[in-house]
Symmetry: C2
Subunit: 170 residues, 2 copies
């Protein structure tokens, strides 16, 4: 995990700055304006930040981001299949197979034959899965609110809407 | 790399939907409202999308995101050190050491002893590094504009400002 961030904006070195620097080799913050102007860079930095929050919160419940998403979707959708989940979450089939096997082995979900097609399986949460998900969702909500406390509700909604527009476009 | 996204919003199943589904086991899009309300989830999806753009663009120039960022910062900052870069980009020392060694071996940067502290090294681009960076930046700009074409200039600036506020907070 990366160290705590230490980003600052470009400074104007004060008088005498050069002399103090010469021994300690301490420099002020550096010019990052080019990177800061790139959408991809800012999204990546924000993702790392939110991933830290996730790891310290939901991660402590023993769930990775994709596992958490899958449990949430199984909880919200009766008779959901692995294929549905893969499409929804943009997770490729082989990765989804491994993921589902993992949470099944841990007793969080069970598979049942699809009522209309024996080759397909629907998924549902076990009581253990439901309990873990409820706990993870409490932690997730609290962490999200704290991490995005720098935004107003309106700004939070704006970010969500704009990011969705970005990743849902063809 | 994940498959092309196929996300849609929650449908209201039309009349007869159940009967047509029964054979084909084709389901409409599933309910993702819980995940879509989470900032972390939306940032992760957006990050995956921008990462795809990066891989298809700058990645084809042979640069990973962190390498691209490092070259940009070396280009913008004379006498920059490895430590400065690590702080600015939130990259830990061991990872930064490997990264710098890699781009040095490829002849993209050279190290020189820091004029005030022989234990430190400053970095600068070689002509080869400058040429590659110029090419990568052209590609990056074009890809970014295309990928974020779903936003107005104002929206793009809003997203950048809000994400910076998120990841720069203590």
């Amino acid at each position: 995990m990366p160290a705590k961030k230490t980003i600052k904006t470009v400074p104007s070195a004060g008088p005498g700055a050069r002399r103090t620097q010469s021994k300690a080799v301490a420099r002020g913050p550096i010019d990052q304006s080019v990177m800061q102007g790139l959408v991809g860079y800012n999204i990546r930095r924000a993702e790392l930040r939110m991933r830290q929050e996730f790891d310290l919160g939901v991660g402590q419940c023993g769930l990775r981001p994709s596992e958490f998403s899958v449990l949430v979707l199984i909880d919200s959708n009766t008779l959901v299949t692995q294929t549905d989940l893969g499409h929804a979450l943009n997770i490729r089939r082989p990765n989804m197979v491994v993921l589902i096997e993992g949470i099944e082995r841990r007793g969080l979900v069970v598979r049942a034959e699809h009522e209309h097609d024996g080759r397909m399986h629907t998924l549902r949460l076990t009581p253990k899965g439901k309990t873990l998900l409820a706990q993870a969702q409490r932690v997730s909500r609290a962490r999200e609110l704290e991490a995005t406390g720098c935004w107003t509700d309106r700004e939070r909604a704006q970010v969500v809407a704009l990011l969705r527009r970005l990743y849902e476009q063809d």
